[in-house]
Symmetry: C3
Subunit: 399 residues, 3 copies
C-alpha cells in the first residue's frame, strides 16, 4: 500500500484567477526571466560554461636591431641587443636602453659629493659627519668639507667611486634608432582546469611569414613581432619623448577562449598600455632608470669601473584571459536560480491579487484553504462514523 | 487576529494522481537530481567548498654541477653554475647553458658583414647604404662593398664589433654533462583567501634526505631535487638533441589542497611539459638562444669583448592549483538550484499528465481550480447573506 | 479561447494549518534564511557582486643606500645599489647582498679539492677517478690524490678555477648598514574583468612626500618606501641574524577593491611574511646565497676572475587581491538559491505536520487531494450527462 502510493504522482494544485491585469503582469515577468536566462545568462554570458580565470603563462622575448651612439667620453659605439636589452636572456619583463649617462674610469677613493645632494652642502668640516652616508649620496663622508675653485659651492668629501657620476643627462635620447628595434614575443599559455595549452606563434603560418611580419592590429593581428616605436605609440606616448627619461609600458596579451568552439578558435589579442601614473616628471615617480657598472683591472691589478646610468623602455608583458567550457554545474545553478526567481515573481503577483483587487477576499479564500477547528471536530466524529461530507472531500480514506 | 494568522502554517496543496507512468517517471527524475546533487556536485566536485583558484607563489632555484668544455678558441674551460645558469640568483625562470659559440677579442671597427645576412650581399658600393643597419645584421653600413679573396661572395662593410660572430654552431652540445646537473626547487605558496601557506620542501624529511634525494614520481614524489636530463626526458625530449639548439621546458607544480582535510594532506605534484610549438627547427620559433658579452680593457685602456651566443634549456617553473574549504554560500547555491531543478521536472511531468493522458481533462480540472464569474457573483450575494455553499468552501470567513 | 486562458493567472493553492508549533517553526526558518541572505550573503559577503580574483600586476623596485666593507682581501670597498642589488634593473623579485665571500684571482688550473667535499678525501691516487666531477665540488678530478703539509687531510686534485673558494663565511654580516637601505616599490595593477587599473603610488600625495616618506602601518600606510630593516623585522626576523646567512622575505600587497564605491576607495595594503620553512639552519633549506664571478684579463690576455658567494635578503613582492562590482548574475543566483532553500524548509515542516501531529491524518487528506478511480468513473459518466457535482467542482468545462 505504501509502495503503491510511492508511485502516485503529486502535483501542486493551482487556483486560476480570471484576472487579466495580474495574468498579463505575470506573463511579462515570466518572459523577462526567461529572456534574461536565455538571452543574457546563456547566450551572451555563456552561463552554461565553467570558467578558468587563471591562465598559466610562459613568455620568451627577443629584441633585434643595432644603434650607434657618439658621446664625447667614449666616441662612436655600437649597441647590440647584448648591450641594450637587460636582462639579455629574453624574459617576460625586459628593459631596452634608450638613453644613458656613462661615467668611465671610476676608482675607489675620496672626492667631493655632488652639489645636487642637498644635505652634502657645507661650509666647514663640522657640517660633515665622518662615517655617515647621505641617503641618496654616492659614498661615505670622511668628515672634511671641500670648498675650492673646482667646487665653489662647498660639499662634504666622501669615500666612494670617484669621480662621482656625471649629472648631465642628454636631452635627446642617445639611442634614437631604438624606435625601429623589433620585439619578438613567444607566449605559451595553459588553462590548467581544462588541460588546454596553446602558443601565440600560430602554427598555421609559415616560417618566412614569422621572420618578416610586423604586428598590425588590422592586417597582421597574429604576428608576434612588434616594432618598439609602434608599441610606445599605441600605449599613448611619443617614443622620442619617452626615450629621454624612460618609462613603463605594458603589453597585454588577452586569451579569451571558448573551448566548446575548438582549439583553432582560441587566439591572442594584443593591447598596449602605459604604466605611468599621472603626468608629472618627478624624479621618483616618472621615468625608468637604473645603474650598472662594468669592472676592469688595469695592468697593476687595480680595479676601476665604468658606471652606466641607463634610461629606457621597461616592458612588462602581462598575459591574462579566461577559458570557458560546458559544464553541468553552472548550467544547473543558472537554470535553478532563474526558476526560483520565477517563484518570487508569483509572490509579488499574489500580493497584488490577494490584497489590491476588488475580488481579493474571494481569491484569498480560494487560495488559502484553512483547516479550521470545525474540520478537526468533524475529523473526530468521522472516526466514529464517516460523514457524507467526508466522502466528498477526502477521497484518500475512501479509496 | 493578524498576529495570530502570522503563526498559521501555510503549505502547498497537492493533487495526487494515481498514474503509475507519471509517478515512476517523476521518481526517476527526483532520484537523478538527488544523485547528481549528492554524487556529482557534493562528493566528486566538492560543491560545498569555496575555492581559491589563485595561488600566490614564490620560487627559488639552485643548480649544481660542473662541466668541462674544450674549444679551439679558448682551450679547456670549466663551467660552474656561476657561468652556465642565467640569471645566477636562482629565479623562477632560469636558463642553463648547454651549447655556445664564443667570439673572443671583438673590437669596435669596420669589417665585412656576414654573408648569411642576405641583404648584405653586394657587388658594388652603391648596393650598400651608408648609415643604415640591416635588420638582423651586426652593425651599421659604411657604404663600401667589400669583395676580396677572404670574402669572395662580396658583402657590405659595416662598423661594429669586429670580427663578426662565428656562425658555426657546434653540432654536438659542448656541455654534454649538463644532463647530470641537478636543479633544486624551493616553492613557497599561499592561498590568500584562506590565509594558508606551505612550502614544497616538506618539513617531515630530514636534512640528509634533502641533500641527497633525487625526484622520482613513484619513490621520491616530494623530493625537490631534479636531474636536468630527467626533466627534459619527462617533457618528451631527448636531452642531447635539445641541448644543441636549446629549448623551453615547463616544470608544473600543482597544489590541489582540500583544506578541510588539514595542513599535512596538501602536497605538491610535479609534471613536465615541453613549451615548444610544432616540430620544425626554424630559427625563429624553435630552440632557445641569446647573446651576452664580457668586456675587457687591454693595457692601453682599449675595450674589447668576448661575445657568447648561448644555447640551452630555458626552464619556466609554473605553479598553479586550487584550495577548497567548506563554505555555506556555495553549499546553499548548489542545494537551492538542485531543488529548483526538481520543480522544473514537475512542470514536464505535468505537461505529460495534463495533456497526453486519457484522463487529462479530469486532471486539468482538478489541478487548476478556476475562480469563475459565478464565484464572483455568489461572492457578491454572500456579502448580503452567507450561503450554505460558502460555509463549506471558505472556512476563513466563518472561523 | 486558448489565448484568453493564456492571460489567466494561476497561483499555487495553499492549505492553512492553524498549528502554532509548525507555524512558528516555519517563520523562524524563513527569518533565518532571509537573515542569512541579506545579512551574510549580501551585506557581509557582497553576494551581489561579480568578483575578479586575478589581479594583473607590474612591479618596479628601486633600492637606495650605500655601505662600506673592509675585508682583508680587497681592503675598503664601497657598495652601491649597482653592486648589492641583483638584478639591478628593479624587478619584482630582488636580492640585496648583506654578506659575501670573495675569492679573488682565480685562474683555470689544478689544485686540491676542498676537504669539505667529503667524497674528495683520499689517501691514494686510486681514490680519485680521472674525468669525474664531485656532485657539489669545484672541478673535474685529474686522478691524483694530493696530500702534503698544506693539505694534511689529503684530497683529490681537480682541474678548475684555482685557488678554490674560501670556505670561511664571516660570522657578522659585512654589509651591516644594509638595515638602513630603503626599498621603493611601484606597483601598477589591473583588474581585467572590469578594465580597472591603479597604482600604489597615490596621485594625491605630493612629490616631496614621496621622496621623503617611510612606510609605517599607522602613520604612512600608503607610502611606497620601505626601510629594509623594518621589512625583515615585520616578517618576524632579526635583521642582523638573517643578514649572516641570508633569507627569503615576502612583501604582500593586497588590493581589496569594492568598485561600486569608486576609484579612490581602492587602496593597497602591505604585509610582510617570512618564506623560510622550519627553523633549522641546514645548508640546503635555510638561508639564501648564490655565486657570481667577475672576469678580468691581465696584460698577457690571460683570463682570471673574482668569485663572489653572496648571502642576502631575497625579496619577493607578491601582489594579490580581488575586485567586486555589482552584477545581475550572482545576485539572481544568490536570491534564487535562497528562495529555493525556503521551499526545502517547507518540506521539513510538512513532514512534521503530516506525520507527527495529532491531526496529521486530516492535514494529509487536505493537503493531498487524490484523484481517485471514482473520479475517473464519474468523469466518464459526465461525458454522457453533466452531473450537479461536476458543476460545482470543475468550473473550467462549464465556463
Amino acid at each position: 500500500m505504501a509502495l503503491q502510493s510511492l508511485f502516485n504522482y503529486s502535483t501542486v494544485k493551482y487556483m486560476v484567477a480570471k484576472n487579466r491585469k495580474i495574468g498579463v503582469l505575470y506573463r511579462i515577468f515570466q518572459l523577462t526571466v526567461i529572456g534574461y536566462l536565455i538571452g543574457w545568462v546563456f547566450v551572451i554570458k555563456k552561463g552554461y560554461q565553467a570558467i578558468d580565470e587563471t591562465v598559466d603563462s610562459s613568455v620568451v622575448t627577443k629584441v633585434k636591431g643595432v644603434a650607434l651612439t657618439n658621446t664625447t667620453g667614449t666616441g662612436v659605439h655600437l649597441w647590440g641587443p647584448e648591450d641594450y636589452v637587460i636582462p639579455q636572456q629574453g624574459e617576460r619583463v625586459l628593459f631596452i636602453t634608450t638613453n644613458f649617462i656613462e661615467t668611465p674610469n671610476q676608482k675607489l677613493g675620496t672626492c667631493s659629493e655632488s652639489s645636487k645632494v642637498l644635505d652634502a652642502i657645507c661650509t666647514k668640516n663640522e657640517d660633515c659627519t665622518q662615517g655617515e652616508a647621505f641617503q641618496i649620496g654616492n659614498g661615505i663622508q670622511t668628515g672634511v668639507c671641500l670648498k675650492n675653485s673646482r667646487n665653489p659651492t662647498g660639499t662634504c668629501e666622501i669615500y666612494g667611486w670617484c669621480p662621482i657620476e656625471n649629472s648631465q643627462r642628454p636631452e635627446v635620447p642617445l639611442l634614437t634608432k631604438a624606435e625601429n628595434f623589433t620585439l619578438y614575443i613567444k607566449n605559451f599559455i595553459r588553462f590548467s582546469k581544462f588541460n588546454f595549452s596553446k602558443s601565440n606563434v600560430l602554427e598555421t603560418h609559415n616560417e618566412t611569414y614569422l621572420k618578416t611580419c610586423l604586428y598590425d592590429k588590422i592586417h597582421h593581428p597574429y604576428c608576434p613581432i612588434f616594432r618598439l616605436g609602434d608599441v610606445v605609440h599605441k600605449a599613448g606616448h611619443n617614443f622620442q619623448d619617452m626615450a629621454v627619461l624612460g618609462g613603463s609600458i605594458g603589453i597585454l596579451i588577452e586569451w579569451r577562449c571558448d573551448l566548446d568552439k575548438g582549439y583553432s578558435k582560441c587566439h591572442p589579442q594584443y593591447s598596449f598600455t602605459s604604466m605611468e601614473t599621472g603626468t608629472t616628471t618627478s624624479s621618483v615617480a616618472a621615468g625608468y632608470n637604473f645603474r650598472y657598472a662594468r669592472y676592469f683591472k688595469n695592468a697593476d691589478g687595480e680595479v676601476h669601473r665604468t658606471l652606466y646610468k641607463v634610461y629606457g623602455i621597461h616592458i612588462d608583458i602581462i598575459v591574462y584571459g579566461t577559458a570557458g567550457m560546458f559544464n553541468i554545474i553552472p548550467t544547473v545553478i543558472n537554470i535553478g536560480s532563474g526558476l526560483a526567481l520565477m517563484g518570487a515573481g508569483m509572490t509579488i503577483c499574489d500580493i497584488l491579487l490577494l490584497y489590491l483587487m476588488k475580488e481579493s477576499t474571494l481569491y484569498r479564500e480560494k487560495k488559502f484553504e484553512t483547516v479550521s477547528r470545525k474540520d478537526i471536530r468533524s475529523e473526530k466524529q468521522k472516526q466514529e462514523k464517516p460523514s457524507q461530507q467526508d466522502m466528498l472531500m477526502s477521497p484518500i480514506t475512501t479509496d
